[in-house]
């Protein structure tokens, strides 16, 4: 078994980050989470650019992607990833407050792997995020690495 891959969380809201990390912590997954605060940062991380130029090699097991973010929004990140040969295989789960059909439709059209609406209740939220983390980081078999 290859070394465990980390989880990339793209989320602009600090409170949401805290709640999400809180939820993942319950499932002892918080230590493997990398947090980026906007779309541009997420892309930099994925492409090892900018401040992530010297990060350790390796793609994240999953990208938990918020849609509404400053600079580059979630849908744009998704579009660029799925149109990039190297990045398109990385699983992306949209984790958002939006229940809008248009967002759902666009996301799936762009090739998202899962779409989760953040439940308002914390119990439900924690449960959902925890399950997500367990599924994608532990259960799901990631694609073979490019090297």
């Amino acid at each position: 078994m290859s070394p465990l891959k980390n989880i990339l969380l793209a989320e602009d809201s600090a409170r949401d980050v805290e709640l999400t990390l809180g939820a993942l912590e319950k499932h002892r997954l918080a230590n493997r989470v990398t947090v980026v605060r906007d779309g541009q940062e997420a892309l930099d991380y994925l492409c090892c650019k900018g401040k992530y130029e010297k990060r350790p090699k390796g793609d994240p097991a999953v990208l938990l992607l918020d849609l509404k973010m400053p600079k580059v929004d979630g849908l744009e990140v998704l579009r660029r990833m799925k149109s990039d040969e190297k990045l398109k295989t990385i699983p992306v789960v949209v984790l958002t407050s939006s229940r809008e059909e248009s967002d759902l439709a666009k996301s799936y059209h762009l090739g998202v792997n899962a779409y989760v609406v953040k439940p308002v209740g914390f119990q439900e939220f924690a449960a959902a995020v925890g399950e997500l983390g367990v599924f994608w980081a532990l259960i799901n078999e990631p694609p073979p690495s490019g090297e």
Partner: protein, 818 residues
Amino acid sequence: MIDTTHTRSFKGLLVGLFAGAAGAVVLCGWLFDIPSLKSVLPGLVTMKANTAVGFILAGLSLALLGGAARVAWTRQLSRASACATALLGLLTLCQYLFGLDFGIDQLLFREPAGAVGTVFLGRMAPTTALNFLLLGSALFLAGSRRTIPAAQRLVLLAGLMGLLPLAGYLYGATALIGIGRYTQMAIHTAALFVLLSLGVLLLHPADGLMRAVASDTIGGWLLRRLAPFVIGVPLALGWLRVQGEQRGYFNGPLGVALMMVVLMLILASLIAWTARALNRIDAVRRQAEATVREREENLAVTLRSIGDGVLATDAEGRVTHLNPAAELLTGWTEAEAKGRPVGEVFCIISEETRQPAVVPVDNVLQTGEIYGLANHTVLVARDGTERPIADSAAPIRDREGGLLGVVLVFRDVAEQRRAEREIHRLNEGLEQRVRERTAELRESDARFRLMVESVKDYAIIMLDAGGHVVSWNAGAERIKGYKTDEIVGQHFSRFYPKEAVDRGKPEQELAVAVAEGRFEDEAWRVRKDGSRFWASVVITAMRDEAGQLRGFAKVTRDITERKRAEEEIRKLNAELEQRVRDRTAQLEAANKELEAFAYSVSHDLRAPLRHVNGFVELLQSHAEAALDDKGKRYLGIIADSSRQLGLLIDDLLSFSRMGRTEMSHRPVKVADVAQEAVQELEGEVQGRKVEWRIGELPVVMGDRPMLKLALVNLLGNALKYTRPREQALIEIGCFTKGGETVIFIRDNGVGFSMEYAHKLFCVFQRLHNSDEFEGTGIGLANVRRIIERHGGRTWAEGVVNEGATFYFSLPRKKEEPS
């Protein structure tokens, strides 16, 4: 009658000249002693010199009568010669009768003694002397018309007396040549006498005895035809018999018998020939008579059949004929009227004066011309009946034009007169009506004219066929500015702007009116002062009853104001449209904004809410020990409220989405959708007794997710408000009404007061407080929005504490809902 006494007779002239010449020749014989001239044949008695002189005298007299009878002196000379001839005969007779000798016998020539058949030398025979007396007298008498018959009788006697010796010479009967022992008549003397007698007779063929011979009657014809035979045949036969007997061919009795037989044969042939000719003539005559009779009968029948009265008179004005119509009209029969003066039978008076009117017969008899009767003449019949008549009278003439009488044709004109009076009366009536109608028309015309003239808003102009103004009303004056006097007679093209005239518009418009009866247009026209106005023009062609173009009626209205108003409206409309476009754009923009807003709401409102929830939970787990019961209750309230806010936000977003999202239009099985909705609500049924009654449900056209949401809302409501019921009953059914499919959801819940029914489907309107029944007040508003987008309606009925029924309808037709 034409006097034939002094007409020329060429035959008389020739005979006279011949006899005179013969006498002269014999005298020459005496003069030169030529025996053959004196006695023709030797052994015959000579013609005495006096006889020759007598013939010269008689011949001269006859030739003068025949040749130049009109000239007076020749008549005198002829008479003198005739007297001399008679005197010669008379003197010689006297010598015989009284034994005298006047010495005239040997006066010219001396006759030698021993002359054949001569008693006294040189003296003519007594018969010759008598013949000269007769002949001279006859010639004398022939010069006068009255004595012609006497002359002819005398001459006939003289001719007979010449004929006797001729026969004697012919048959050798000397007894006939002379009387007893007296001197005989010479042969050429006898012949000349016969010739002269014929000559005198031929002088006047139409008079006296000769009239019978020359007449064109059958007798005259017979005489002329038979006379030559009657004289010639016996003479010739006798001569043949005498010759035969003398030459010893046959004796006396045989000669007589032969002569008689031949004579009988010849006479019989003659009679047969004549009879045939007579038969032919008779047949022709009968034919002619039959034709004449037929014609007369036809004429008589025609006359009788003529409907008009026909009355004929003779030249004296006496009635000769009356046809039946005339008998009827006059009251006289033809038999009674015949011979009476016409005025007695045909009695007429003037209708007006009652005075006897002139019978046109008299006029005709006087003038010989055709006359018509004066008008209004009345015929008074024999019984006093009066009848108005019309007639005319015409002369009857024979072939030579002689006036034979008058024919009067007349007829009863009572009927005609009555008809005339009737026509007159009808005419009067007709004229009266024409007068009345004319008056009406004139009045109507005047009214119309007044109306047309007083119309101010319309220019009503009459044009002649060429487009010249004939009439002009007040409206025309007001609109166009011309006075009647200055415009009548002008061409109407002056009302058009110059460019229109240049393009030939006026003529084109008249042409259209002629072709289609009417021309309509709106265009610029020019007033007298040159200003323009926008005109509505109607030109109508006017035709008479025969379809002939009489002119045009042109009605023009100044609609400049209207045009201005129309343009104003058009401008306002354009502005309005622009504003609508602008507003639509604004609305579209606002809608976009709204969508963006809704998006933000869905995202941004939920985030803090979630944070509240999240951190409350974290607080509970983190500080459970530190919190007292009160603190724990507060945290519970915060958590509850934020959950409530979350529901509200979700419903609002859903409501907003229902108004915005595109909807599909496909067949939807309502029964399936209802089943799904019931399943979806399964969680809320836990621990309750709920009976679902789902009836027959239709297939409708619509958007499946939307319809499902509506049903979930309605069924959820029913479930919610039956919560107090131990046994909940929820029924879904449908019916059709007025072209709509109506679906209803009925429950036995707490119901509602109809007083508030109108508030049910409005946003945030609730009839129960949230302590009793939770809810956001958006569910039914959402149902209404969905159904309205499908083109249907929503309504509800309820009774407090008994239950409620919610209805929604969907159009049955598969048409596009708005």
